[in-house]
């Protein structure tokens, strides 16, 4: 599969990424201050969830899940309406506690929460868990056709990618990118990242240079985009450009995302700087352990990848991968668990993960 890219097209203009990041933090703090005055203020709890998710997704802020837990707890005490349940569901879903989220949504339904709000959340959960994907696709098509907006097109692209309809996913992502008519860099960086992921990791034969092109664009929109830096650094390192990889990772260290330290450790090993690498690896291990202690389901897949690789603990990796599969049996989760089972020399690991998926078996 190949793709056409207009390398000379700068893409839509957007507010400078540094300004946008400062303003996100500003809006986030402003919303919390208003919540502190009165948790029931219209729309404020929901605004906090939205801002915190952006901070997590784009800035690698690892304290987001703890803050959201606090929000859910305080909001539940302050507001006895279905609003609190919807917020609790969003918070649970953000932490990949999908079963909890479904319970909150079921209670919200009984309390008469708006149907559209419920359906949107259920759709997100189904997509994240890889269940009812045909129905998810139909619904995503409906939303995207009705609005034509980036925020509806990107999830459509994602479900197409989940269904391994990569060419269609690519087309939808490009449509989202081209049709964007606002000025926030976050949505544009998001589409670029999704395209990088598509071409770097999801297609059967990855195209690292195309993936790098999109990751670079994501970083151009948002220099503080931690995940894009990590993924681009991986590509650079795999091509032997360890200096470039290091330059990408160093500014992201302040995010405290252990994946940054893990990838940096790999780069340092490749450069023969073994003592520094060991320190970074220890920090990464400690970081993952801390995250797993608080939010196991949210970080199980990334931690599994770490322990299967430089973390050097295949048993733990397999345990985490299985936890992830049990929580959300997506094709990617199953593939990951299968691959780790093979590394761990687990009996029966050679079976096709897709067969296991269709049979509903654990890997």
């Amino acid at each position: 599969m190949t793709a056409f890219v207009e390398h000379d097209n700068p893409g839509p203009f957007a507010t400078d990424g540094e300004i946008a990041a400062i303003n996100l933090e500003s809006a986030r703090c402003g919303a919390w201050a208003r919540f502190a005055q009165d948790p029931r203020l219209p729309g404020v709890a929901e605004e906090i969830v939205a801002n915190e998710r952006l901070a997590s997704q784009f800035l690698g802020d690892l304290d987001v899940l703890d803050r959201l837990d606090t929000l859910a707890l305080q909001f539940e005490r302050a507001d006895g309406s279905s609003r609190a349940l919807l917020v609790q569901a969003e918070v649970a879903s953000t932490a990949h506690r999908f079963d909890d989220a479904r319970v909150y949504l079921a209670r919200a339904v009984r309390m008469g929460a708006p149907r559209e709000a419920i359906e949107r959340q259920v759709l997100t959960i189904d997509q994240a868990c890889g269940v009812e994907l045909d129905a998810v696709l139909a619904a995503r098509h409906g939303f995207a056709t009705a609005s034509g907006r980036l925020e509806d097109l990107v999830p459509l692209g994602a479900v197409l990618a989940d269904l391994e309809r990569f060419a269609e996913a690519d087309a939808v992502y490009r449509q989202a990118f081209s049709s964007y008519d606002d000025v926030s860099p976050f949505p544009l960086a998001w589409v670029c990242f999704q395209l990088g992921l598509l071409w770097g990791e999801l297609v059967p034969i990855p195209d690292p240079s195309l993936a790098a092109f999109w990751y670079r664009r994501a970083i151009a929109y948002l220099p503080g985009y931690v995940k894009a830096r990590v993924h681009l650094a991986e590509i650079c390192a795999s091509e032997g450009r360890t200096g470039d990889a290091e330059a990408l990772l160093l500014p992201a260290l302040s995010s405290r995302d252990p994946e940054v330290r893990w990838r940096l450790a790999d780069v340092l090993v490749a450069q023969g700087r073994l003592e520094e690498a060991e320190r970074q690896l220890d920090a990464a291990r400690s970081g993952f352990d801390q995250l797993l202690e608080g939010h196991l389901l949210a970080f199980a897949d990334h931690a599994a990848e770490f322990y299967a690789g430089s973390g050097n603990d295949c048993r733990r990796a397999l345990e985490l991968a299985r936890t992830n599969v049990a929580n959300r049996p997506t094709r990617r989760a199953l593939k990951q668990a299968h691959a780790i089972a093979v590394i761990a020399d687990e009996p029966g690991a050679a079976s096709d993960p897709h067969e296991a998926l269709s049979a509903g078996a654990s890997v």
């Binding site: 957007a14 300004i19 303003n23 500003s26 005055q37 000025v183």
Partner: protein, 499 residues
Amino acid sequence: MSDHVDGPRSIGDPSADITDLFAFTSPDNPTRTVLAVDVFPSAGEDAIFSNIIKYSIAVRRVTVVGVGNSAKFQPADDEFRFSFRFDVLKRDAAGKAIQLGLCTLPGGRELSLTVGDEKGASTPEGDVRVFAGLRSDPFYLAWDVAELTKLPNLLQHTNVLCIVVEFDTRRVLDTTKGSLFGAIAETVPPQQRSLIAPPIARIDWIGRPEQTNIRLNNPALSAIQDLRDLWNQQTPFAVSKELQSLFLQRLKDSLANWDMHDGKADWTPEALAANANVFLDDFLLFDVAKPINDESHLEIEKSTINGLPYQTGGGRTVDANSIDILLTWLVNRDREFLQGGATGATKPGMKSFPYFATPNTELQTVAESVELAATPDDVWSLIGQFGGAWHPLTARVNLTGAGIGQLRTIQTVDGQKIVERLEAIDDAKRFLRYTNIAGMAASQYSGTLEVKPKGSGCVVDWRAQFLTSDKTDRAVKVIVTTLFKAGLESLKPRFGVAK
């Protein structure tokens, strides 16, 4: 809210989201007029302007071409436009981020400015002075608008990004040709190439307050299409002829609904239609030859619809109670003033440039909790004692007085002294509230401690809110967080951790 978050699109970049527009005579110099636009609802203390948005205030001469039920204000084609652009951040010698801007004045003159500089920037001739930066939000809304029940100010302690233009009225507006004007403000993105759809002309615009959130998108009207983004794409002073009937019908429906909020019909259908027509032409009217004061907002429109010559300069001052003036007009046609739950914004405006009050220090919040494997009453019996010394960082506690109002003086293990006052306590609900009197580098410090049942155990929730001076908020937050965590952690071995 006035125009705060007035459409799904404007949620994208808060610095492009217009909240309010003002037009008034300078309280400092009656020969000068002030125009101002606010953006970024509930901006935090570090908020800055987008580097790709053009922020504009445009003014057109207006003529009254109809009165009574034919009331109509006709804007001229020519306009006076003040446009602001801002740069990406630069660092000064100390490494501090600064943002520079450029204002293009009517006629093309340019004026450079630095964001946040209270002195602003002036033309060499002194006829125009501009400011841009963070200020206390002058807007206040103290209603549940859908139910029309009073609330405290929903925007208390919030800030906005503010752009102010002050100018010599006669020199800039040429008042020999007339003194009545209409103003709008808009945020304009770059006209970028799109393969899919035509570029959007603007992110947001505003004329009179509440065109979008109260009139077009009346929260009391159920199951209506959200017209706010469509409205924001209209050209100010020239709403699309094809869409005028759609917007007009929505305005009529909305105003009819507002009229009946108190159960009384104060508007005839003809007068209501005239009101809708006037609001459809959405610009902030002001007359520089007449007095503009805190009560004059909308007076030009109201008198003209009532078939009378207007007496004031209308406009909108920093302290104008715009929401209550509007609601009174819509609900009972000025029969009885509807006063919301607040009589002013967090801070009043200033009498001198830049007229908008300094930003509010951000209210800091610390919240920590712990879940314990003990009954709420058991835990409360320990920590619910206002004079108790259960906290591991406490060396000694002395109580002064009794009951509500009593003081506790805490001597910490490192020799610090903290004085706190008991404001409320409810042993049945296992809740207490206290304020700090001394010992914390913070003001308006209010703390709550609460124990609630959870499962077979309980959860202890400890919270504090406070204001700090500019430089110390993070440091104080760390101190309070450490204090709370240490205290709550100490409860775990005593009572056990909930499973």
